[in-house]
């Protein structure tokens, strides 16, 4: 398996672990906050903004661990540059995953239009953000494996 394919699998695992772990943490805080928090924009905005740096840091840590483990096991140097094939695969994956996110934003706005609490919109955007992240890595993995 090539280093790029291993990196995509690590990114998928990173997204699942980060989003899963942070969801459990936010759920506990939601339970502690009481029934009115479903309409509390400040609570959900803070929870949403915290997800971004948590996701970035977790991703970086997992990538560093992967590079070190790969170097120890295979002796391969980590790839520091992207060539034309890497950039093409990234562009193709971004194009598809952008559409997934746009659909997610559309549905999330729809929850507000239907009179649901603000919580539903934030959760919708977070879930579709997670799906977008996983889909982006999965599409790139498929393109690396299958070719195009």
């Amino acid at each position: 398996m090539q280093i790029q394919e291993k990196r995509m699998i690590a990114e998928i695992i990173s997204s699942v672990l980060t989003f899963g772990g942070y969801s459990v943490y936010t759920w506990h805080k939601y339970q502690e906050a009481g029934p009115d928090v479903a309409h509390d924009l400040i609570f959900w905005a803070k929870a949403f903004l915290m997800l971004i740096p948590v996701g970035v840091v977790a991703g970086i840590v997992i990538m560093i661990i992967l590079s070190i483990m790969n170097k120890i096991v295979t002796g391969e140097e980590p790839l520091m540059v992207q060539d034309e094939r890497d950039k093409l695969i990234e562009l193709k994956a971004h194009r598809i995953s952008s559409w997934i996110f746009i659909i997610g934003v559309f549905f999330s706005m729809g929850t507000i239009a239907l009179g649901m609490p603000a919580m539903a919109m934030f959760i919708g955007i977070a879930i579709f953000g997670f799906i977008t992240s996983v889909a982006d890595s999965a599409i790139r993995l498929i393109l690396y494996l299958r070719g195009f």
Binding site: I3, Q4, L79, D83, E84, R85, D86, R146, G147
Partner: protein
């Protein structure tokens, strides 16, 4: 749609058994890209194709060839 074929592996062998890594370093791409080109999982850009041909001191058509599918229209 047709397929672009190549004989890079053979050319590497006849050029002092050049490795994929050596060819990749000379062409300015990763070893994985060279491997994908040899397996016909990736069609290189025109610039990269010319660079590879230049490394082997060969013409483009000596390195790459186009195999049209049966349904493809013939040249006029």
């Amino acid at each position: 749609m047709g397929k672009i074929q190549n004989n890079i592996r053979t050319l590497r062998f006849h050029h002092n058994e050049m490795t994929q890594q050596q060819l990749a370093d000379s062409a300015g791409v990763t070893r994985q890209t060279i491997a994908a080109i040899e397996k016909e999982k990736y069609s290189p850009s025109l610039e990269l194709a010319f660079r590879i041909a230049h490394i082997f001191n060969a013409e483009l058509q000596e390195v790459f060839s186009y195999d049209p599918e049966p349904g493809d229209k013939k040249a006029l």
